[in-house]
Symmetry: D2
């Protein structure tokens, strides 16, 4: 992920070195001094390569690299077990589903029961709701955490829920198996530190137009503070086309998972806002390498207090899950990544 510059010997043939690099999927720009090509700058969108291999190409004197700013992330385990539930690793992606907001204990219990019946292993649901407009419904808070925990326990599910600010870190950490950091809090390093200290695994959504580097920086903050495991989650970046709201950036998902071996989830519900795009984007996310999917669902979306239009009815979710399972054979366990060290 880091900048690389290849210094050439004075008598090297730059064209020949560049052909060797091209053969490995590496783009370069020549750097000159005193009229001659003295080095090659590697473009950041080149295929990943082992610096030692590049150093062995005839004509190459030295390979200079930016050092990673994320030593803990580099060494983080690539999967994590919550009892029998494994996050990361191979096979079909883990589905985390549930209502946007935990509106009543009955709603939560019904959702948990039906999700468990279709083989879902992780319940999601919001006790605190992030809202752009302060006059909107903000969630039921601590009471809702209890409803979610009870429903998960009753139906043998793990629970993921979001903390919205520093006050809610403790109650969320007590109730949840995985703590979710929302897109709006990705840059909130004070909150990240507090969440990291709880020692719980964390799902870290990408900020609305965050770079991969910034996203990794937030993961590093979590790990430095004590988090044992960070599951990245792509949820769409700022888009300019009103018909799809955000852009779901599956290139970053493929990069993190297939090149760097990092665990990454996708939230297709928030990506587009459109319920009719959730099924195809769920499949696409799985195919790009997502090891988990976070999907909003609701027993009767017309009754939802928040984000109902993007909630997939439970019966449609069931069909998506069946399709995703059929993709599993395509994806053997390759969580170690192609570069062998995760970045």
């Amino acid at each position: 992920m880091s900048a690389v510059v290849i210094i050439l010997y004075e008598n090297a043939d730059p064209a020949r070195v560049r052909a060797e690099l091209t053969a490995r999927g590496i783009w370069t720009s020549p750097l000159t001094a005193a009229g001659g090509v003295a080095a090659l700058a590697v473009e950041p969108y080149s295929a990943a390569a082992d610096p030692a291999e590049l150093a062995a190409i005839p004509g190459v004197r030295q390979v200079l690299e930016e050092t990673t700013g994320h030593p803990l992330l580099r060494n983080m385990p690539r999967d994590y077990s919550l009892g029998e539930v494994r996050i990361g690793g191979g096979g079909a992606p883990l589905v985390m589903a549930g209502p946007c907001s935990a509106e009543t204990p009955e709603l939560v219990m019904e959702a948990a029961q039906r999700l468990a019946a279709m083989g879902v292993q992780v319940l999601r649901g919001g006790a605190y709701k992030p809202r752009t407009n302060p006059h909107s419904f903000q969630g039921h808070g601590p009471r809702a955490l209890q409803w979610l925990r009870d429903a998960a326990d009753r139906h043998g599910l793990k629970l993921i829920t979001e903390t919205m600010g520093e006050d809610s870190v403790s109650p969320v950490a007590e109730a949840a198996d995985i703590i979710q950091i929302g897109s709006r809090n990705m840059y909130n390093h004070d909150l990240l530190r507090r969440v990291g200290k709880t020692g719980k695994p964390v799902l870290l959504k990408r900020g609305v137009s965050a770079t991969i580097e910034e996203w990794m920086g937030s993961a590093e903050t979590l790990l430095l503070a004590g988090a044992p495991f960070v599951l990245f989650c792509e949820r769409g970046i700022r888009g300019y086309d009103a018909h799809t709201r955000n852009f779901l950036d599956l290139g970053s998902v493929a990069l993190l998972r297939r090149v760097h071996g990092l665990p990454v989830a996708v939230d297709p519900s928030h990506a587009a806002g459109r319920r009719d795009l959730i099924p195809p984007l769920s499949l696409a996310a799985a195919a790009a390498g997502a090891c988990a999917l976070l999907i909003e669902t609701h027993p009767s979306p017309g009754m939802a207090l928040s984000d109902g239009p993007q909630a997939l009815p439970l019966e449609e979710l069931s069909q998506v899950i069946r399709q995703i399972r059929r993709l599993a054979p395509l994806f053997p366990d390759e969580s170690a990544g192609r570069d062998g060290h995760g970045r």
Copy 2:
């Protein structure tokens, strides 16, 4: 795809109407007059719905719609046959592969022979090369068209190649089975008209930050000028993250294909520039609904004169093709689209 406003009866209960709309995946904003909610504006990122169905909801007086600006596109056939090769329709996506640039007759012949052997049906290759820098290699022009046609004929392949400007329309139309319009020419309506007049089917790449509306407008221009069929092709929109170069917008692919039933291809080679992302993005594109993939390949990428680093070696392409074929059962023929008329 068009703006919709739902006018309510004066005595309607807006909350009840909104619940009905939420149940259908439709987001709305209330519009008021004299203090009361008189109408609901439908957000463009709502799920597609039949206006007649919305008009039947109790409390709804009238459904107002923007008329489509693309009457020809709305009525375009959803698939097209070039002899035995079918574009659009169900099953695994059609693979169109070949070298970025037709550099020598031998290269082209070798690529065609090996592609045919792995079951590829359409050869792609450039005779004219679009370059940002005018001092770069610009392609071999008409001679290269002949090399491509000969290689395609010898190995029973169809040929797709790009026209770069108005002078090359005639020679390209004579040599190719499908004419490609590149991303940089999507807005070039003079060229679109000239290409449409040839009567050939067209692959229309999306402009670098084009909206879906603009893209459809260019397709409409082609159809109006006489093109029998337009295959959209997503190739990545302007990105801000250097590690993935462009953003591959699979949400638009899913929207065009799964909601509107339009034929759409994906070019994963240009999307990221990174060779190591081509396999996962090819699978993701297929899963999102792409009915064709346009992939750059080269027998020995280290020797390529242009864009070598993004050319997938032939043996890796072969593996991608095998994986994509395994996805086929997931995608029965549903090219008619969910809205029944393609938009």
Copy 3:
């Protein structure tokens, strides 16, 4: 700022109504029902207009509007006085300047003394530093707040400084005259509420790709919690061109100030990262309507612990200030806005 739909009488001539709207700078799309144009949807990038005036156009039956989600912002005063320092209002923009980070008491005192001498009225400086990488320098915290307060008091300056998280709200509120919310915290509504409760005026930076609506929503949260005044601050949105880093969106500045009469500042230092663009962008910001400029400066930028390359040397700042003062006569007091109520 809200969606507007114009309902026509059945016998109205849509072309004539549209001409009247065009004459007022208003873009529309026709909405049809049963084949006829029944309404006109106003595009959000139209010039501001008075709904009552539109309702009086012959052929118009009713003007429907989205109600503002920001009632407090609409009624917020358009300027604010801190003793003799006035934020908002007319004339040349207020300059707020100082070092990125308060590194030592000596640095802060020297900067304050020299800034006061050149007529600057507000000292800025960071006690807590937001950093993407958790291994970087994070600021001196509470001690630095004291250095800043002392320096401001000694030289008759007002002080603006940033709170980075909920723990620092109280000490920052105690030390500062204006509390700064950074770009990364614009969406952090828990923090916004806590800052609002302090009763201090707030400078609210725009999130990295925030929409104007989201930005206003955050201001509304501050006002609802008790803030007396919010000064918006544009600091560049996510860019795709490496040479200018972010895009400074002066269109939004002009819109907030010149159309809606809201107080808005510009931070040209963070916008581009480039020191050589700070002078022209400062002038451009003033010309677009900024009522304040937030500029990083340093007595010796080579010694800065953070963001030194974007710190303008004090002597260059002095020249920028002189140029900006010459613009003042162009901008009489027009803070009331053209729409008479700020949005």
Copy 4:
């Protein structure tokens, strides 16, 4: 504008070299080999600097640079005279104004007469109209060119008008003093070559999300084909906020003009689409360094056949011109640029 890497001596103190660079506004990332810092990569958003000066810093062994891909642009004259009208150079920006479309000879003549009376020196107007939708009005073509030429001649104005495709290059070159390349054609290198061959000066609009490098590449193509002078024109890049439509990127304007000394114009009419933002954005563009402004105006915007809502009424244009003239003393002639050679 090009990538720069600074190679250090083995015994150099990287911190000391970085401090020297920071003092010059230069951001760097350390590049390591065998554990030690061997070089510093200069970030592209650093202030411009003279490589020879950097090479003289103690500890620096060598400064490597990407060679410019635009040798002709580097040597292009920084201003150009059309009779008494000077493009580029210092003072207040040149105003080029007129109707979006040349609809009738009377309209054009009236506009020219009134513009000349307010001191405008260049008439703009479209004979061919680029439209997203092929069913819209496309302009009057060659006849309209004659109307424009006649009106310009009668009132002593120079004429700028746009060529939309290869067929219109000759008639436009014959009628116009300056040929305009629209945003949609910036990447159309076939057209650029044909326009360059006419030997006329060219106004080159930036493509909708073009990078500065791509924009310069198009200018280089024009110069290589024979154009004597290229005036860049920023007109807004793809935006995500509906209220301002596009983002006017004045950072790029400041970079091209104030750092590289290149001639650059701004089109505030297309940037936002909003008539009410044209006056403040015109002033901001002038302050950022624009040497020309391209403004749509219309004697009666309600009657315009295309883009009427963004046409500034003539009386408002007159006021904008008066304000811009008052900015002139701020901008002495500094067209040579700070890097002495334009890039």
